[in-house]
Amino acid sequence: MECPVALTSTDVARLADLARIDLTVKELEQFAGELGVVLDAVAQVSAAARPDIVPTSHALNLTNVFRDDVVRPSMPLADVFAMAPAVEQDGDSTWFRVPRILGEAA
């Protein structure tokens, strides 16, 4: 099987940008190496993959696992907002409050 191309710090910088994570140059190099090891390990699966083995995306060999369309109680509001970093309330209405969306580095 072909070997995956080694991950460069440019690749890691791109992924970090998409994931909105700030990394230093030193960290970019460090993660390029560490993520490369992970990719190599996962690539070993290719050695076992023969044409007669169907690629899989799930551990269970099942299909059509469906739920009935029946409403069950949602979470109590107190539990929902116990997790919220910031909340705004107006009468019976409560929202998650999030920082301004535009204006962050694009």
């Binding site: 998409l18 059509n64 409403v71 929902v80």
Partner: protein
């Protein structure tokens, strides 16, 4: 306000061939969300319909709503699509506060439904719109932007999130590029979405109300120089909240792009937003490119593999296309083409059908909905279906007229009373004593009194000037407070004078 240079529409279609593509999101009317048992009820208090699954809390696991899969397959079948024998959900990764998970569960390269087509009637001409795919996904939450003057995201200090809508099942229906529509492109875009809405509504799987967001449309537009076959760079316009705005936005983009291309410029591939107030499009925030979504198969869900038996059983539930149904109903009701077109355009087909089913003659049912009730709906800014009157009540009013118990004028009064919530037409007629006078002796007495009171008029009628009878009819009606049938009064006057 728009600052765009615009080329005249006629000049655009003389120099370019427009290519349109439409992406429509339909919110399914299931009771629960796509992957959890939270209610989908509209209008609940913010964040009162959320759980660990739709909030994306660690350790929670999604479960597919079988009803949503069934509704999606039925939509695909109604659009003439093939149904996948095996397909998976995928994660679409992006960072935006409308999704707490930082990914949306959607379908990527394995849509549930693919390769269909829709026949669209554009002013009597049939156009085939090819369907690329219809796939399942989950809706995102809703945000309110605070601190900006306009309520828009630009200039907002912060935003408030309501995740009740997050996880509600959606079907996204994507057309292939539609070529060759020329100057008709804006009308085709509008007619396609109207047809799609009618098809989905007939299936009963969604409210498909654009103003409430249960049907949302994005329009892709590009221009191809005449004589070339290379597709131009396209823009995607969002925020199209009505059929009218779809038509106007496609036209606007054609004129805007035409001006840029005619001046030797290049179109920037971007997302634009329709501004209904000024009728123009404006560039939105720059969006991540498709490959940046890093789709991968959703590892928490097993594949969906609809059996052919299931698909065929669902195919048997698909009603005839609305266009065929309309043609059959037109035939059955004896409506002229323009009459039927007006009824369909007013979304009154089901109302008229129900009124006929409740006993009214087809033309009478049509007239009530398309004139009296239409006028009242327009005055109140409502749709016909939102009026506080049922088809059965309309049929009952017509029945009272047919029985001779109401005349047209009093019937309109009864309609107003029904709309005011005073009861059924029969109850109102009885309570208000509105029925026309059927008692022949009472009618005869009034006729005799008015003939005696207008000897000169009576003489003229006897002499053959029957048009003078109008004076006597008016006098009799006035004496009876309008509660008589004018035709009967006329007949009775003439008979009395001849006798």
């Amino acid at each position: 306000m728009s600052r765009d240079e615009l080329l005249e529409f006629d000049e655009v279609v003389a120099a370019f061939d427009p290519v349109i593509g439409l992406e429509v999101h339909v919110e399914l009317a299931t009771l629960t969300k796509m992957f959890c048992a939270c209610s989908t009820r509209f209008g609940a208090a913010p964040n009162s319909q959320v759980c660990p699954v739709c909030l994306g809390l660690p350790g929670s696991l999604p479960q597919v709503n079988g009803q949503a899969v069934e509704s999606s397959i039925r939509i695909g079948l109604a659009l003439g699509c093939s149904i996948a024998t095996w397909c998976r959900f995928s994660r679409k990764n992006y960072f935006y506060p409308d999704m707490t998970k930082n990914y949306q569960v959607s379908q990527y390269d394995e849509p549930l439904c693919y390769d269909g087509s829709v026949e669209v009637d554009v002013d009597g001409e049939l156009i085939t719109v090819p369907i690329e795919r219809a796939h399942m996904e989950e809706d995102a939450g809703k945000s309110v932007h605070v601190g900006s003057l306009t309520g828009r995201i630009e200039g907002a200090e912060y935003s408030l999130m309501d995740y009740n809508r997050g996880g509600v099942p959606l079907v996204e229906i994507v057309t292939k590029p539609v070529l060759g529509t020329g100057a008709g492109a804006p009308a085709v875009a509008r007619a396609y979405v109207a047809t799609l809405r009618d098809i989905v509504r007939a299936l009963g799987v969604s409210d498909v109300r654009m103003e409430q967001g249960s049907l949302r449309c994005d329009a892709n537009v590009s221009l191809m120089a005449k004589g070339t076959t290379t597709l131009g760079t396209r823009t995607e316009t969002k925020n199209l909240n009505s059929l009218k705005s779809i038509e106007k936005a496609v036209r606007y983009e054609m004129c805007r792009q035409g001006a840029i291309l005619a001046a030797g410029g290049r179109i920037k591939q971007e997302t634009r937003h329709w501004h209904e107030d000024g009728s123009y499009t404006a560039a939105g925030r720059s969006k991540e490119e498709a490959e940046d979504y890093r789709y991968f198969p959703e590892p928490d869900l097993v594949p969906v593999a609809p059996s052919r038996e299931w698909v065929e059983a669902l195919r048997a539930t698909i009603p005839a296309p609305p266009r065929e149904r309309l043609a059959a109903l037109r035939e059955q009701w004896g409506f002229a083409e323009p009459e039927m077109r007006d009824v369909a355009a007013a979304d009154a087909v089901d109302l008229v059908a129900a009124t006929i089913a409740a006993g009214a003659a087809p033309q009478a049912a049509r007239k009530w909905w398309m004139s009296e009730l239409m006028r009242r709906a327009n005055a109140a800014g409502l749709g016909l279906a939102d009026l506080a009157i049922t088809p059965a009540a309309v049929a009952q009013v017509q029945g009272l007229i047919d029985e001779g118990r109401l005349n047209d004028k009093v019937a309109r009064e009864v309609i107003d009373a029904v709309l005011a919530g005073e009861g059924t037409p029969r109850e109102i007629v009885d309570a208000r004593g509105l029925a026309v006078i059927l008692d022949t002796s009472a009618l005869q007495a009034a006729v005799d009194a008015q003939i005696a009171g207008h000897p000169d008029v009576a003489e003229r009628i006897r002499a053959g000037k029957t048009q003078a009878v109008g004076v006597l009819i008016g006098a009799v009606m006035k004496q009876l407070g309008g509660q008589a049938d004018a035709a009967s009064v006329r007949a009775l006057i003439l008979a009395t004078l001849e006798g």
